[in-house]
Protein backbone atom coordinates (compact mmCIF):
# COMPACT_ATOMS: atom_id res chain seq x y z
CA UNK A 1 0.00 0.00 0.00
CA UNK A 2 2.76 2.39 1.05
CA UNK A 3 4.85 1.40 -1.96
CA UNK A 4 1.98 1.91 -4.34
CA UNK A 5 1.03 5.28 -2.86
CA UNK A 6 4.59 6.48 -3.27
CA UNK A 7 4.79 4.99 -6.75
CA UNK A 8 1.76 7.01 -7.73
CA UNK A 9 3.36 10.25 -6.57
CA UNK A 10 2.34 10.68 -2.94
CA UNK A 11 5.32 11.92 -0.90
CA UNK A 12 7.25 9.27 1.03
CA UNK A 13 6.38 9.69 4.69
CA UNK A 14 2.80 10.78 4.07
CA UNK A 15 1.60 7.29 4.91
CA UNK A 16 3.18 5.62 7.93
CA UNK A 17 2.54 2.40 9.80
CA UNK A 18 3.40 1.37 13.32
CA UNK A 19 2.53 -1.40 15.71
CA UNK A 20 2.18 -0.31 19.30
CA UNK A 21 0.90 -2.40 22.14
CA UNK A 22 -1.43 -0.76 24.66
CA UNK A 23 1.36 -1.25 27.21
CA UNK A 24 3.94 0.69 25.16
CA UNK A 25 3.02 4.19 26.19
CA UNK A 26 6.47 5.69 25.66
CA UNK A 27 6.71 4.14 22.19
CA UNK A 28 3.32 5.63 21.40
CA UNK A 29 4.49 9.09 22.38
CA UNK A 30 7.72 8.71 20.44
CA UNK A 31 5.99 7.52 17.28
CA UNK A 32 3.42 10.31 17.43
CA UNK A 33 6.20 12.86 17.83
CA UNK A 34 8.18 11.41 14.94
CA UNK A 35 5.19 11.19 12.63
CA UNK A 36 4.05 14.70 13.48
CA UNK A 37 7.51 16.12 12.91
CA UNK A 38 8.01 14.36 9.58
CA UNK A 39 4.56 15.27 8.28
CA UNK A 40 5.02 18.90 9.33
CA UNK A 41 8.20 18.91 7.36
CA UNK A 42 6.31 17.72 4.29
CA UNK A 43 3.75 20.48 4.74
CA UNK A 44 0.07 20.29 3.82
CA UNK A 45 -1.06 17.55 1.46
CA UNK A 46 -1.73 19.28 -1.84
CA UNK A 47 -1.87 16.22 -4.04
CA UNK A 48 -4.01 13.30 -3.03
CA UNK A 49 -6.77 15.40 -1.57
CA UNK A 50 -10.09 16.34 -3.01
CA UNK A 51 -11.23 19.88 -2.59
CA UNK A 52 -14.47 20.94 -4.23
CA UNK A 53 -15.45 18.46 -6.88
CA UNK A 54 -14.29 19.45 -10.37
CA UNK A 55 -17.31 19.47 -12.65
CA UNK A 56 -18.40 21.45 -15.67
Amino acid sequence: MKNLMEHMGVEPGRLQFSWISSAESTKFVDVVKQVTASVKELGPNEKFIKKTVKVA
Partner: protein, 347 residues
Amino acid sequence: MMKVINIDKQKWAGGVESLSKSYRLFGPMKEDDSHNFKELKKGELPDLAYGNTKLSPKSTVFPPSEAMFTYTLDESKPDHHILQDVKKDYSPRAVLGMRPCDAKAVSLVRMNFDTPEYRDPYWMDAYEATTFVGLACDAPCSTCFCTSTGCGPFNEEGLDVLLVDNGNAYIAKALTEKGEKLLAAAGFADKGDDAAVATKKAAAEAKITAKIETDKLSEKVIMDLYDAPFWADIAFSCINCCTCTYACPTCWCFDIQDENKGNEGVRMRNWDSCMTPLFTMHGSGHNPRDKKPQRVRQRFMHKLKYFVDKYQKGIMCVGCGRCVQQCPVNIDIRTVSKTMNDYVAKC
Protein backbone atom coordinates in the same frame (compact mmCIF):
# COMPACT_ATOMS: atom_id res chain seq x y z
CA MET B 1 -33.36 30.65 -49.03
CA MET B 2 -30.24 28.70 -48.18
CA LYS B 3 -26.99 30.55 -48.63
CA VAL B 4 -23.92 28.90 -50.09
CA ILE B 5 -20.57 30.41 -49.23
CA ASN B 6 -17.16 29.53 -50.57
CA ILE B 7 -14.45 29.43 -47.89
CA ASP B 8 -10.94 29.52 -49.29
CA LYS B 9 -8.87 27.30 -46.96
CA GLN B 10 -6.29 30.10 -46.80
CA LYS B 11 -8.92 32.17 -45.05
CA TRP B 12 -10.07 29.43 -42.66
CA ALA B 13 -7.63 30.20 -39.84
CA GLY B 14 -8.44 33.89 -39.97
CA GLY B 15 -12.15 33.12 -39.86
CA VAL B 16 -11.77 30.89 -36.83
CA GLU B 17 -9.72 33.65 -35.19
CA SER B 18 -12.54 36.13 -35.84
CA LEU B 19 -15.11 33.68 -34.50
CA SER B 20 -13.19 33.21 -31.28
CA LYS B 21 -13.96 36.84 -30.43
CA SER B 22 -17.69 36.22 -30.17
CA TYR B 23 -17.96 32.46 -29.68
CA ARG B 24 -16.53 29.83 -27.39
CA LEU B 25 -15.20 27.32 -29.88
CA PHE B 26 -15.12 23.55 -29.69
CA GLY B 27 -13.52 21.29 -32.24
CA PRO B 28 -11.79 17.97 -32.81
CA MET B 29 -8.25 17.89 -31.44
CA LYS B 30 -5.73 15.10 -31.74
CA GLU B 31 -4.66 13.49 -28.48
CA ASP B 32 -2.37 10.47 -28.57
CA ASP B 33 -3.75 8.27 -31.33
CA SER B 34 -7.28 9.63 -31.62
CA HIS B 35 -9.36 12.79 -31.82
CA ASN B 36 -11.81 14.21 -29.32
CA PHE B 37 -13.84 17.40 -29.09
CA LYS B 38 -12.18 19.99 -26.89
CA GLU B 39 -12.72 23.64 -26.17
CA LEU B 40 -10.21 25.45 -28.37
CA LYS B 41 -7.73 27.70 -26.66
CA LYS B 42 -6.80 31.04 -28.13
CA GLY B 43 -5.03 30.54 -31.44
CA GLU B 44 -5.87 26.82 -31.70
CA LEU B 45 -7.45 25.47 -34.85
CA PRO B 46 -9.67 22.41 -34.95
CA ASP B 47 -7.92 19.47 -36.60
CA LEU B 48 -10.33 18.63 -39.40
CA ALA B 49 -8.26 15.80 -40.82
CA TYR B 50 -9.96 13.10 -38.82
CA GLY B 51 -12.28 10.14 -39.35
CA ASN B 52 -14.42 10.44 -36.33
CA THR B 53 -13.71 11.32 -32.72
CA LYS B 54 -13.40 8.62 -30.10
CA LEU B 55 -16.07 10.16 -27.92
CA SER B 56 -18.96 11.94 -29.57
CA PRO B 57 -19.30 15.72 -29.31
CA LYS B 58 -22.37 15.27 -27.11
CA SER B 59 -20.16 16.42 -24.25
CA THR B 60 -20.23 19.97 -25.66
CA VAL B 61 -23.87 20.28 -24.57
CA PHE B 62 -23.99 17.41 -22.09
CA PRO B 63 -20.75 17.25 -20.05
CA PRO B 64 -19.83 13.95 -18.35
CA SER B 65 -20.10 15.72 -14.99
CA GLU B 66 -22.10 18.89 -14.63
CA ALA B 67 -22.99 21.01 -11.59
CA MET B 68 -26.70 21.75 -11.20
CA PHE B 69 -26.91 23.44 -7.81
CA THR B 70 -24.79 24.35 -4.85
CA TYR B 71 -25.95 24.45 -1.26
CA THR B 72 -24.70 25.01 2.24
CA LEU B 73 -25.58 23.02 5.33
CA ASP B 74 -24.16 25.73 7.60
CA GLU B 75 -27.16 26.80 9.66
CA SER B 76 -25.59 30.11 10.54
CA LYS B 77 -26.04 31.17 6.93
CA PRO B 78 -29.44 32.57 5.94
CA ASP B 79 -29.79 30.47 2.79
CA HIS B 80 -28.78 27.17 4.34
CA HIS B 81 -30.38 23.99 2.95
CA ILE B 82 -31.61 25.88 -0.09
CA LEU B 83 -30.43 24.86 -3.54
CA GLN B 84 -28.79 27.70 -5.44
CA ASP B 85 -28.57 27.79 -9.20
CA VAL B 86 -25.07 27.54 -10.60
CA LYS B 87 -24.18 30.40 -12.89
CA LYS B 88 -23.10 28.93 -16.20
CA ASP B 89 -21.55 30.37 -19.28
CA TYR B 90 -24.25 30.14 -21.92
CA SER B 91 -22.71 32.76 -24.14
CA PRO B 92 -22.67 31.81 -27.83
CA ARG B 93 -20.55 28.77 -28.58
CA ALA B 94 -19.88 26.84 -31.73
CA VAL B 95 -18.90 23.28 -32.45
CA LEU B 96 -16.67 23.26 -35.51
CA GLY B 97 -16.31 20.28 -37.78
CA MET B 98 -18.67 17.78 -36.24
CA ARG B 99 -19.80 14.85 -38.36
CA PRO B 100 -23.35 14.82 -39.71
CA CYS B 101 -24.12 11.63 -37.76
CA ASP B 102 -23.28 13.35 -34.49
CA ALA B 103 -25.43 16.33 -35.45
CA LYS B 104 -28.41 14.14 -36.16
CA ALA B 105 -27.78 12.52 -32.78
CA VAL B 106 -28.13 15.91 -31.10
CA SER B 107 -31.55 16.35 -32.66
CA LEU B 108 -32.59 12.87 -31.50
CA VAL B 109 -31.41 13.59 -27.98
CA ARG B 110 -33.34 16.84 -28.01
CA MET B 111 -36.59 14.84 -28.13
CA ASN B 112 -35.75 13.69 -24.64
CA PHE B 113 -34.62 16.99 -23.16
CA ASP B 114 -37.19 19.24 -24.81
CA THR B 115 -40.73 17.91 -24.51
CA PRO B 116 -44.12 19.65 -24.21
CA GLU B 117 -44.08 18.87 -20.47
CA TYR B 118 -40.44 19.40 -19.59
CA ARG B 119 -37.51 21.43 -20.74
CA ASP B 120 -34.17 20.37 -19.34
CA PRO B 121 -32.60 23.77 -18.62
CA TYR B 122 -28.96 22.64 -18.64
CA TRP B 123 -29.06 20.73 -21.89
CA MET B 124 -31.39 23.17 -23.61
CA ASP B 125 -29.56 26.32 -22.55
CA ALA B 126 -26.31 24.85 -23.82
CA TYR B 127 -28.01 23.62 -26.99
CA GLU B 128 -29.59 26.97 -27.75
CA ALA B 129 -26.28 28.72 -27.20
CA THR B 130 -24.56 26.46 -29.68
CA THR B 131 -24.12 26.78 -33.42
CA PHE B 132 -23.36 23.41 -34.95
CA VAL B 133 -20.96 23.49 -37.87
CA GLY B 134 -20.77 20.14 -39.59
CA LEU B 135 -18.11 18.68 -41.81
CA ALA B 136 -19.37 16.31 -44.47
CA CYS B 137 -17.75 12.92 -44.41
CA ASP B 138 -15.76 11.97 -47.53
CA ALA B 139 -14.01 8.94 -46.11
CA PRO B 140 -16.38 6.96 -43.90
CA CYS B 141 -14.93 4.21 -41.68
CA SER B 142 -15.60 0.53 -42.30
CA THR B 143 -17.79 0.57 -39.22
CA CYS B 144 -20.00 3.42 -40.45
CA PHE B 145 -23.59 2.49 -41.24
CA CYS B 146 -25.25 5.91 -41.17
CA THR B 147 -27.00 5.46 -44.51
CA SER B 148 -29.27 2.77 -43.05
CA THR B 149 -30.21 4.78 -39.97
CA GLY B 150 -31.97 7.61 -41.73
CA CYS B 151 -28.78 9.65 -41.70
CA GLY B 152 -25.84 9.92 -44.08
CA PRO B 153 -22.36 11.34 -44.56
CA PHE B 154 -23.78 14.61 -45.91
CA ASN B 155 -26.88 14.70 -43.71
CA GLU B 156 -27.96 18.19 -42.71
CA GLU B 157 -30.36 17.50 -39.86
CA GLY B 158 -29.29 19.14 -36.63
CA LEU B 159 -26.68 21.32 -38.30
CA ASP B 160 -26.57 25.09 -38.72
CA VAL B 161 -23.80 24.98 -41.30
CA LEU B 162 -22.52 22.11 -43.38
CA LEU B 163 -18.97 22.32 -44.68
CA VAL B 164 -18.03 20.22 -47.67
CA ASP B 165 -14.35 19.82 -48.41
CA ASN B 166 -13.72 20.88 -51.98
CA GLY B 167 -9.96 20.78 -52.36
CA ASN B 168 -8.64 24.26 -51.75
CA ALA B 169 -11.91 25.47 -50.32
CA TYR B 170 -14.86 24.48 -48.20
CA ILE B 171 -18.34 24.78 -49.64
CA ALA B 172 -20.35 26.10 -46.70
CA LYS B 173 -24.10 25.67 -46.71
CA ALA B 174 -25.79 27.92 -44.20
CA LEU B 175 -28.77 25.87 -43.12
CA THR B 176 -30.24 28.12 -40.44
CA GLU B 177 -30.20 31.72 -39.37
CA LYS B 178 -27.77 30.78 -36.61
CA GLY B 179 -25.50 29.37 -39.28
CA GLU B 180 -25.66 32.51 -41.40
CA LYS B 181 -24.79 34.60 -38.38
CA LEU B 182 -21.77 32.47 -37.66
CA LEU B 183 -20.48 32.68 -41.22
CA ALA B 184 -20.91 36.44 -41.13
CA ALA B 185 -19.08 36.67 -37.79
CA ALA B 186 -16.21 34.69 -39.29
CA GLY B 187 -16.11 37.08 -42.23
CA PHE B 188 -16.84 34.31 -44.73
CA ALA B 189 -18.80 36.06 -47.45
CA ASP B 190 -17.56 34.81 -50.85
CA LYS B 191 -20.53 33.57 -52.78
CA GLY B 192 -20.20 29.92 -53.62
CA ASP B 193 -22.17 27.25 -55.35
CA ASP B 194 -23.00 23.74 -54.28
CA ALA B 195 -22.90 22.13 -57.71
CA ALA B 196 -20.05 19.84 -56.66
CA VAL B 197 -21.83 18.59 -53.55
CA ALA B 198 -24.20 16.08 -55.14
CA THR B 199 -21.42 14.02 -56.73
CA LYS B 200 -19.35 14.08 -53.56
CA LYS B 201 -22.37 13.05 -51.55
CA ALA B 202 -23.12 10.12 -53.83
CA ALA B 203 -19.47 9.03 -53.75
CA ALA B 204 -19.36 9.12 -49.95
CA GLU B 205 -22.63 7.26 -49.62
CA ALA B 206 -21.43 4.58 -52.01
CA LYS B 207 -18.47 3.93 -49.72
CA ILE B 208 -20.75 2.90 -46.88
CA THR B 209 -21.46 -0.77 -47.27
CA ALA B 210 -22.25 -1.76 -43.69
CA LYS B 211 -25.86 -1.50 -42.70
CA ILE B 212 -28.25 -2.01 -39.87
CA GLU B 213 -31.46 -3.95 -40.49
CA THR B 214 -34.46 -2.81 -38.54
CA ASP B 215 -37.26 -2.67 -41.09
CA LYS B 216 -39.29 -5.48 -39.54
CA LEU B 217 -38.95 -4.47 -35.91
CA SER B 218 -41.92 -2.12 -35.82
CA GLU B 219 -44.21 -4.95 -36.92
CA LYS B 220 -43.70 -6.90 -33.75
CA VAL B 221 -45.19 -6.08 -30.38
CA ILE B 222 -42.64 -5.26 -27.75
CA MET B 223 -43.20 -8.31 -25.59
CA ASP B 224 -42.43 -10.77 -28.38
CA LEU B 225 -38.99 -9.29 -28.89
CA TYR B 226 -38.54 -8.80 -25.16
CA ASP B 227 -39.06 -12.50 -24.55
CA ALA B 228 -37.07 -13.61 -27.59
CA PRO B 229 -34.67 -16.49 -26.94
CA PHE B 230 -31.49 -14.88 -28.29
CA TRP B 231 -30.74 -12.33 -25.56
CA ALA B 232 -28.70 -14.65 -23.34
CA ASP B 233 -26.42 -15.52 -26.26
CA ILE B 234 -25.96 -11.88 -27.28
CA ALA B 235 -25.31 -10.85 -23.70
CA PHE B 236 -22.88 -13.62 -22.73
CA SER B 237 -19.69 -11.87 -23.72
CA CYS B 238 -20.81 -8.43 -22.48
CA ILE B 239 -18.78 -7.28 -19.49
CA ASN B 240 -21.30 -4.55 -18.67
CA CYS B 241 -18.86 -1.68 -18.93
CA CYS B 242 -20.13 1.70 -20.08
CA THR B 243 -17.96 1.96 -23.18
CA CYS B 244 -20.83 1.77 -25.68
CA THR B 245 -23.09 4.15 -23.80
CA TYR B 246 -20.42 6.76 -23.10
CA ALA B 247 -19.14 6.72 -26.66
CA CYS B 248 -22.66 6.80 -28.10
CA PRO B 249 -23.85 10.19 -29.37
CA THR B 250 -27.50 9.31 -28.68
CA CYS B 251 -27.17 7.96 -25.13
CA TRP B 252 -28.37 10.58 -22.71
CA CYS B 253 -28.88 8.87 -19.34
CA PHE B 254 -27.53 10.53 -16.25
CA ASP B 255 -27.40 10.12 -12.50
CA ILE B 256 -27.83 12.90 -9.93
CA GLN B 257 -25.45 13.01 -6.99
CA ASP B 258 -24.95 15.33 -4.04
CA GLU B 259 -21.40 15.78 -2.88
CA ASN B 260 -20.41 17.63 0.26
CA LYS B 261 -17.12 19.01 1.41
CA GLY B 262 -17.66 19.99 5.01
CA ASN B 263 -20.85 22.02 5.00
CA GLU B 264 -20.65 23.04 1.36
CA GLY B 265 -22.15 20.85 -1.31
CA VAL B 266 -22.72 20.48 -5.02
CA ARG B 267 -25.61 18.72 -6.68
CA MET B 268 -24.36 17.42 -10.00
CA ARG B 269 -25.32 15.11 -12.74
CA ASN B 270 -23.00 12.54 -14.23
CA TRP B 271 -23.31 10.35 -17.28
CA ASP B 272 -24.84 7.05 -16.30
CA SER B 273 -25.36 3.84 -18.20
CA CYS B 274 -28.06 1.18 -18.50
CA MET B 275 -25.21 -1.32 -18.53
CA THR B 276 -24.63 -1.02 -14.79
CA PRO B 277 -26.78 -2.74 -12.16
CA LEU B 278 -26.72 0.42 -10.06
CA PHE B 279 -28.56 2.32 -12.78
CA THR B 280 -31.87 0.64 -11.98
CA MET B 281 -31.31 -0.19 -8.32
CA HIS B 282 -34.35 0.90 -6.29
CA GLY B 283 -34.17 2.40 -2.83
CA SER B 284 -35.90 -0.75 -1.57
CA GLY B 285 -32.98 -2.87 -2.74
CA HIS B 286 -35.07 -4.40 -5.52
CA ASN B 287 -33.45 -4.24 -8.93
CA PRO B 288 -35.66 -4.83 -11.96
CA ARG B 289 -32.60 -5.31 -14.17
CA ASP B 290 -30.20 -7.15 -11.92
CA LYS B 291 -29.13 -9.66 -14.59
CA LYS B 292 -26.76 -8.95 -17.45
CA PRO B 293 -29.02 -10.12 -20.32
CA GLN B 294 -31.74 -7.77 -19.08
CA ARG B 295 -29.38 -4.82 -19.26
CA VAL B 296 -28.02 -5.73 -22.67
CA ARG B 297 -31.56 -6.19 -23.95
CA GLN B 298 -32.50 -2.77 -22.58
CA ARG B 299 -29.82 -0.99 -24.56
CA PHE B 300 -30.75 -2.55 -27.89
CA MET B 301 -34.50 -2.50 -27.31
CA HIS B 302 -34.38 1.17 -26.33
CA LYS B 303 -32.46 2.14 -29.43
CA LEU B 304 -34.17 -0.11 -31.94
CA LYS B 305 -37.68 -0.61 -30.60
CA TYR B 306 -38.94 1.49 -27.67
CA PHE B 307 -37.72 4.76 -29.15
CA VAL B 308 -39.10 3.87 -32.57
CA ASP B 309 -42.53 3.05 -31.14
CA LYS B 310 -42.62 6.10 -28.90
CA TYR B 311 -41.64 8.83 -31.34
CA GLN B 312 -42.20 7.29 -34.77
CA LYS B 313 -39.01 9.02 -35.89
CA GLY B 314 -36.89 5.99 -36.65
CA ILE B 315 -34.24 4.36 -34.52
CA MET B 316 -32.13 6.00 -31.84
CA CYS B 317 -28.88 5.23 -33.60
CA VAL B 318 -27.09 7.29 -36.22
CA GLY B 319 -24.64 4.66 -37.38
CA CYS B 320 -21.44 6.32 -36.18
CA GLY B 321 -20.01 2.88 -35.35
CA ARG B 322 -18.27 3.94 -32.14
CA CYS B 323 -19.83 1.18 -30.04
CA VAL B 324 -18.81 -1.37 -32.66
CA GLN B 325 -15.23 -0.10 -32.76
CA GLN B 326 -14.74 0.27 -29.05
CA CYS B 327 -16.61 -2.64 -27.48
CA PRO B 328 -13.96 -4.67 -25.62
CA VAL B 329 -15.67 -7.93 -26.58
CA ASN B 330 -16.94 -7.01 -30.04
CA ILE B 331 -20.68 -6.90 -29.47
CA ASP B 332 -21.94 -5.41 -32.70
CA ILE B 333 -25.24 -3.53 -32.94
CA ARG B 334 -25.44 -4.46 -36.62
CA THR B 335 -25.40 -8.15 -35.77
CA VAL B 336 -27.84 -7.66 -32.92
CA SER B 337 -30.30 -5.76 -35.08
CA LYS B 338 -30.05 -8.43 -37.75
CA THR B 339 -30.74 -11.13 -35.17
CA MET B 340 -33.78 -9.17 -33.98
CA ASN B 341 -34.97 -8.47 -37.49
CA ASP B 342 -34.52 -12.05 -38.67
CA TYR B 343 -36.37 -13.29 -35.63
CA VAL B 344 -39.36 -11.12 -36.50
CA ALA B 345 -39.23 -12.19 -40.13
CA LYS B 346 -39.34 -15.85 -39.10
CA CYS B 347 -42.38 -15.67 -36.85
